[in-house]
């Protein structure tokens, strides 16, 4: 489920990439991504309750292959 203001869409091609999932969990400053090491499965997992904390820093976009993660501003 999206947040009130922000949604994050992950391309199916990288959704199961555990290395990327770990990297995202490490870099996101507001803990939107959950590391597979925390029992979230073997791919990219998102803490939906935290989506609206996104500070639009783009670090996740830079860490992922181009275009594979999208930050959607639901107010636009």
């Amino acid at each position: 489920m999206p947040g009130e203001f922000i949604d994050i869409r992950v391309d199916a091609k990288v959704a199961k990439n555990a290395t990327l999932a770990r990297k995202l969990a490490e870099i996101c400053p507001v803990s939107i991504f959950i590391s597979p090491d925390e029992g979230s499965g073997d791919g990219i997992a998102i803490d939906e309750s935290n989506l609206d904390e996104c500070v639009l820093c783009d670090l996740c976009l830079q860490a992922a292959p181009k275009g594979k993660i999208k930050i959607v501003k639901l107010y636009e």
Partner: protein, 405 residues
């Protein structure tokens, strides 16, 4: 952060200010016996017993009593114990020698916000309301500014005392006391150091009879050694009254998340909730609301880039206060707080409180970092907002007008 009288006096004593003999007794059921024992051990004749509370009005409430014998001291302690002064319970009782007074003086060091310097207010008409003296007998009150940066010299204290016409040996005895108070004020980052009354005794000596100390709350860390020495714990907020449930809930909101500040609230009786802050903006905006005839439900401080959830929880708390109809979200121009994050927080707070943000947020005036993004969010939810071309004063006026329409 306010000190009890006995703590203020302990600080004065540490710095050599002249004090009468005293004993502190606790607020237990054994206080009357302790008072009797204190009377005997002081062995100074008549005493005064003073309830230790953080509020003024002790004399009027009957929480200051006199005793000529040990038994009278016991009775006085028994009478003082249950008395609440402006909602404050007796923390302990100070038993102090009662001294024969010839004249009372007033001296206070505080900050003059307009002059941006400390000011020493001195009067040779102490023991009574200084504002009244200033109004009726202005020639008996001197105001002397001094620098908090340049070295402090005794000459400034002498000027302050002499300006009220005090001269000769009284001037020579009073000036060092005033000078020490100025030094204490600067050394401990105080916002108020007051002695009232400062008494001249019949034998020509001067004594500090009562004192008030307020320390800047932000400076507590710098003076931990002193606070430990005085037994003031980290958990003691030391405001003029105990915090309300609303204020405690605000402190919990603030403490739950380390990001930024949002939750330092002070409760008022009005109907307009305030989410305000930024570099003195809180005080300016609060005053502006009142100046326009509005009735704030709270004072608060937000800043330092609080998270969305912190702004949300603060909004929900303010909206949960009975009688609050709308909130005004206003700050000075912000550089270290994100406009869009605060916008998200207050809107989500309204939604989770079951309220329409467009109806509930009377005005949103936070210009600064990420304002375009913030304004997009506000537009989507139909919230009335303005940018920096609208002054804080005018924004407050818009909020008040909505409350009155």
């Amino acid at each position: 952060m306010r000190f009890y009288e006995y703590e203020a006096k302990a600080l004065f004593q540490k710095h050599g200010l002249p004090l009468g003999q005293s004993k502190l007794i606790d607020n237990s059921s054994g206080a009357p016996n302790q008072a009797r024992a204190a009377f005997k051990s002081l062995d100074c004749g008549p005493v005064v017993l003073k309830s230790q509370v953080l509020s003024g009005g002790r004399m009027k409430a009957g929480a200051v009593q006199f005793a000529d014998t040990a038994d009278e001291a016991g009775e006085a302690a028994k009478a003082i114990l249950p008395i609440e002064v402006n909602g404050q319970k007796c923390r302990s009782i100070l038993v102090e020698e009662k001294t024969p007074i010839e004249q009372e003086y007033f001296v206070a060091i505080t900050w003059d916000g307009r002059a941006k310097r400390p000011v020493c207010v001195f009067s040779d008409m102490g023991g009574i309301d200084i504002e009244e003296v200033a109004e009726k007998n202005p020639e008996h009150v001197s105001k002397t500014h001094f620098s908090s940066i340049l070295p402090l010299t005794p000459r400034i204290a002498k000027e302050a005392v002499g300006a009220t016409g005090v001269s000769g040996s009284d001037l020579n005895k009073l000036a060092p006391i005033v000078f020490k108070l100025m030094q204490i004020f600067l050394k401990y980052d105080l916002t108020l150091a007051e002695i009232n009354p400062l008494a001249k005794l019949k034998d020509g000596r001067f004594l500090v009879l009562d004192g008030h100390i307020d320390m800047e709350a932000e400076a507590r860390g710098n003076h931990k050694a002193l606070l430990d020495e005085l037994g003031i714990g980290d958990e003691e907020t030391r405001q003029g009254r105990p915090p309300t449930e609303f204020e405690l809930a605000g402190a919990r909101v603030n403490a739950a998340d380390h990001r930024g500040v949002a939750g330092n609230v002070v409760e008022f009786d009005g109907n307009l909730g305030l989410v305000i802050g930024a570099g003195g903006g809180s005080l300016t905006l609060f005053d502006a609301i009142r100046d326009h005839g509005g009735e704030p439900a709270n004072y608060c401080e937000i800043g330092g880039n609080p998270s969305m959830s912190k702004a949300k929880e603060l909004t929900k708390l303010i909206l949960s206060k009975p009688g609050v109809e709308k909130i005004a979200v206003m700050m000075n121009v912000v550089s270290n707080t994100r406009v869009d994050i605060v916008a998200r927080g207050v809107i989500k707070g309204c939604l989770e409180a079951g309220k329409d943000p467009a109806e509930t947020i009377a005005i949103f005036r936070i210009p600064g970092a990420w304002e375009e993004e913030g304004f997009k969010i506000l537009e989507k939810y139909g919230v009335d907002y303005c940018d920096r071309t609208v002054s804080m004063y005018d924004a407050a006026g818009r909020a008040v007008a909505k409350m009155q329409s």
